[in-house]
């Protein structure tokens, strides 16, 4: 009888450990999903930030050498009232195709959830901002897509 009791105990122990492992995996997956959404929100914040900077500052991004068309900056996002850092974003602006006939800025934003040094999740967005004020086919007419993203792609998690 003792052997049976021990075998049953062992069976229940294995069963219980299996259930617990399954739950841990589920909870971990749920946390990962929440962190991925947080990273996406940070990336979107970066996208709005760069559009605001471009809108308010004519000389943004600051001009560099001709062979340096890429400008990059990073900012952290704090909780309300100067609370802890909840995320960050890194914006990269590629001005290679800024001039006509392209008139596009290639913008890449990587949003990170949590501490920027040890991000919990990262998400990359890529956009092409139309910065040509006139139509490409007829420079006498205004461009209806001026300062709009002609393409915005979610490149997913990193």
């Amino acid at each position: 009888m003792l052997v049976v009791a021990l075998l049953l105990s062992l069976l229940f122990l294995v069963l219980g450990m299996g259930f617990l492992t399954q739950r841990v995996t589920q909870y971990r997956g749920a946390f990962r999903a929440a962190e991925a959404v947080q990273a996406l929100a940070c990336a979107r914040a970066g996208l709005e930030d760069v559009r605001t900077k471009l809108n308010l500052d004519y000389a943004f991004p600051p001009p560099a050498a001709d062979d340096q068309p890429v400008f990059s900056y990073s900012e952290v996002i704090q909780d309300f009232g100067g609370g802890p850092i909840v995320g960050s974003y890194t914006v990269t602006i590629d001005s290679t195709y800024r001039q006509a006939p392209f008139g596009l800025l290639k913008i890449t934003v990587v949003g990170s959830a949590g501490d920027p040094q040890q991000p919990l999740a990262r998400r990359k967005l890529y956009g092409e901002l139309d910065v040509l004020p006139v139509l490409r086919t007829d420079p006498a007419l205004p461009n209806p897509d001026f300062f709009e993203f002609v393409q915005l792609v979610d490149r997913g998690g990193l």
Binding site: L15, F19, P101, F102, E128, D145
Partner: protein
């Protein structure tokens, strides 16, 4: 006798726990699938925002449609920006286009992508009971009804279309 009774009692308790745990796991799995459907709807809304041309539902026609069909810029095309720049320089930022269609097929929301002559199929959501799209002029209203265990859930999303 007493020992056998105790053993069977323990077995009964464990069996009950296992059955209840299985029910909870099944419910969690179906709930996760339902939440993935909500994310899928956000994907449809996100892609609708990227539409260069919204084919279905058409603008100004009113009514609800059971699919979304649109043309968008091919995000994977690597030849959009020619180097060196050709002369005379011409460039249309809204090319090349791919055709994307979201529709319900046998209880699944699927995404068809047509690039050239090839069409690829991608599963977006499962246990779908209904999918509707309505073009409200400038924006598109999406609704997705899914079966979650014993209940039905309806997710809705709105996407502002590009000019």
């Amino acid at each position: 006798m007493l020992t056998s009774f105790l053993v069977f009692m323990v077995l009964g308790v464990v069996a009950t726990l296992v059955r209840q745990y299985r029910e909870v796991s099944t419910h969690s799995r179906l709930h996760d699938a339902s939440l993935r459907s909500a994310l899928a709807l956000q994907q449809v809304a996100g892609e609708a925002k990227e539409a260069v041309t919204m084919i279905t539902p058409p603008p100004g026609a009113g009514g609800t449609y059971s699919s979304v069909e649109l043309d968008r810029i091919d995000p994977n095309d690597t030849t959009r920006f020619p180097t060196p720049i050709p002369s005379p320089a011409t460039f249309d930022p809204k090319t090349p286009l791919i055709r994307v269609q979201y529709t319900v097929d046998a209880g699944e929301l699927v995404r068809f992508v047509q690039v050239g002559a090839g069409v690829s199929r991608q599963l977006i959501a499962e246990n779908v009971l209904g999918f509707t799209a309505e073009n409200q002029g400038g924006s598109i209203h999406l609704s997705l009804r899914v079966q979650e265990d014993k209940r039905q859930k309806v997710y809705e999303a709105r996407a502002v279309l590009a000019k």
